[in-house]
């Protein structure tokens, strides 16, 4: 039933949904800036299409799986605005993966993945956590019923994207030349290449920074919009909490990278900022501004260590740090709700506020279940696609660049790009 047709709610959800849509631009700029110029057209097209394919798939099937109702069957203003909001969220999860799988994934394989994730993978875990938001009587996911809390999607959106990205990058293997035993060993490829990690430099820090600022801005829509109500008195507090967490995370990442590398590193700080945003997303309805600063700072720090862990120790090639920012810090932020939640805001206390271990354990169950789901189905999907049509471009194509081979065009026609790998 679409009850009290509250116009403010509809306007609010719609406007914040428009902001979340614009995150696609943020991700596009970030991923382009962090990868090489010869692959720019490819990653931009992937970003354009994972929204374009994912949104339609979500409309056709995914939304119904997630909420038990269809925007076709109930064409009301509220339903359309709610659908729009959920659709752009689904698209956010899908687009995270293009970063982890950048610079070596076949275009057509990526398109197929985009369809499957929006048709099925995202909606199922989303249903577990947000089903009742669709206002269908009796719709409630099992994690929801346990008391699992994910305000705006650290787990539903970001962890799902992060773990799918992890599955993808594992099935793909590292980029050519990323791990070489010796400088001459440029023929080594695949997961057996366990030499030292060599940096593959992002080609455009201005674009990457623009991307992060766009994402930061749009995140106010992501978090504040998740109240699904413009009448909710928390929307301003949520915006403040979101902003403080991001700022604290930037500080944390900057500080740690400065200490570890001797110089303040922009690329680490950018990722750290996003990590802060991702981690506050689960608890933005439930934690205080002061807690947000702590959570953000820790997330920014954690992100740096996670990137180093994946890059140097686990030797898993993640070109833009998507697994660390979205997977690891999404899980971290979700667990933080179990620590920092305050009854005054959301009706339940976390460990640090006298609530005991119960919420924390519930959060842990949810984090684990979604990891198994997203990583598991992702792994199966990518392995299957690899068997059937192949997931990775041929060696020569990867060297020449995906733009020329997959798209027959260049991103920077007229510029001479110094490419030596």
């Amino acid at each position: 039933m679409d009850l009290d047709l509250n116009h403010l709610d509809i306007v609010w959800v719609l406007l914040t949904g428009f902001l979340v849509f614009f995150m696609q631009a943020g991700f596009a700029m970030l991923e382009t800036g962090f990868t090489r110029a010869k692959n720019a057209v490819n990653i931009l097209t992937k970003n354009l299409m994972d929204f374009s394919i994912g949104s339609i798939c979500f409309f056709l099937v995914g939304f119904a799986i997630m909420f038990g109702t269809s925007p076709v069957g109930r064409q009301t203003d509220w339903m359309f605005s709610f659908f729009f909001f959920q659709m752009v969220f689904a698209a956010t999860a899908a687009t995270i993966v293009s970063g982890a799988m950048a610079e070596r994934t076949k275009f057509v394989t990526y398109l197929i993945y985009s369809a499957v994730v929006s048709l099925f993978i995202y909606p199922v875990s989303g249903h577990w956590i947000w089903a009742s938001a669709g206002r269908v009587e009796g719709a409630e996911g099992w994690l929801q019923a346990l008391g699992f809390i994910d305000s705006a999607g650290s787990t539903v959106v970001h962890s799902v994207g992060g773990w799918l990205g992890l599955a993808g990058t594992l099935v793909l293997g590292p980029r050519l030349g990323k791990y070489s035993a010796t400088v001459t060993n440029t023929n080594v490829t695949g997961p057996q290449a366990l030499g030292k990690a060599r940096p593959i430099l992002g080609h455009n820090m201005p674009l990457a920074t623009l991307g992060v600022f766009i994402l930061w801005f749009c995140w106010f829509g992501f978090n504040s919009g998740s109240t699904l109500s413009g009448n909710n008195s928390g929307i301003a507090r949520i915006a403040v909490v979101t902003c403080l967490a991001a700022a604290a995370a930037a500080n944390g990442a900057l500080f740690i990278s400065w200490m570890k590398f001797g110089k303040p590193d922009l690329s680490m700080t950018l990722n750290g900022t996003l990590a802060g945003l991702v981690s506050i997303t689960a608890g933005c309805l439930h934690v205080s501004p002061a807690s947000a600063i702590v959570i953000g700072f820790l997330a920014g720090t954690l992100c740096v260590f996670s990137v180093l862990l994946f890059e140097h120790i686990l030797k898993i090639d993640d070109p833009v740090g998507a697994v660390s920012v979205h997977g690891v810090c999404g899980a971290f932020g979700t667990l933080c709700v179990g620590l920092f939640a305050e009854k005054a805001y959301g009706g339940v206390n976390g460990l640090f506020f006298g609530g005991g271990m119960h919420l924390l354990l519930t959060q842990l169950i949810g984090v684990g279940a979604v990891f198994l789901w997203a990583f598991g189905t992702g792994w199966v999907l990518f392995k299957f696609l690899d068997l059937v049509i192949g997931i990775r471009v041929p060696r020569n194509e990867e060297i020449r660049g995906l733009d020329i081979n997959e798209h027959g065009m260049e991103a920077y026609a007229g510029f001479q790009i110094f490419t030596t790998e």
Partner: protein
């Protein structure tokens, strides 16, 4: 004294540099270039129109050497730049020209010491 100029495929630069270092040649200048030879161009599209690009990206390496280093340097470049055992069209070319004089700016040394 000779000036060796080599045009190679861009992705071969790491292996050419490594081969040169092994041959004790570590001073060089690298620039990007566009070039064509026997290698065919490729097609590029924009807005539905196709065009043939036949100036391909190349890397140009310049090395000044004393005479007794010429063969070692050439062998090293070929080792790094040739594709596989039999090579491929597009591997590149090496030009050797006489070098009149070489002067080190910092110290004013000339000739063999300046190259060394």
């Amino acid at each position: 004294m000779k000036l060796i100029i080599a045009m190679i495929q861009p992705e071969k630069l790491p292996s050419v540099k490594a081969a040169l270092f092994e041959a004790q040649v570590s001073k060089m200048t690298v620039t990007t270039a566009l070039g064509c030879g026997q290698q065919m161009g490729y097609d590029e599209t924009f807005h539905g129109s196709k065009t043939e690009i036949n100036l391909l990206k190349k890397i140009r390496i310049e090395i000044a050497v004393n005479d007794h280093f010429v063969q070692k340097t050439v062998d090293a470049i070929i080792k790094g730049a040739r594709s596989g055992k039999d090579g491929k069209i597009g591997d590149g070319k090496i030009f050797i020209s006489n070098l009149e004089e070489c002067i080190r700016i910092r110290s004013g040394e000339i000739g063999k010491e300046a190259i060394g």
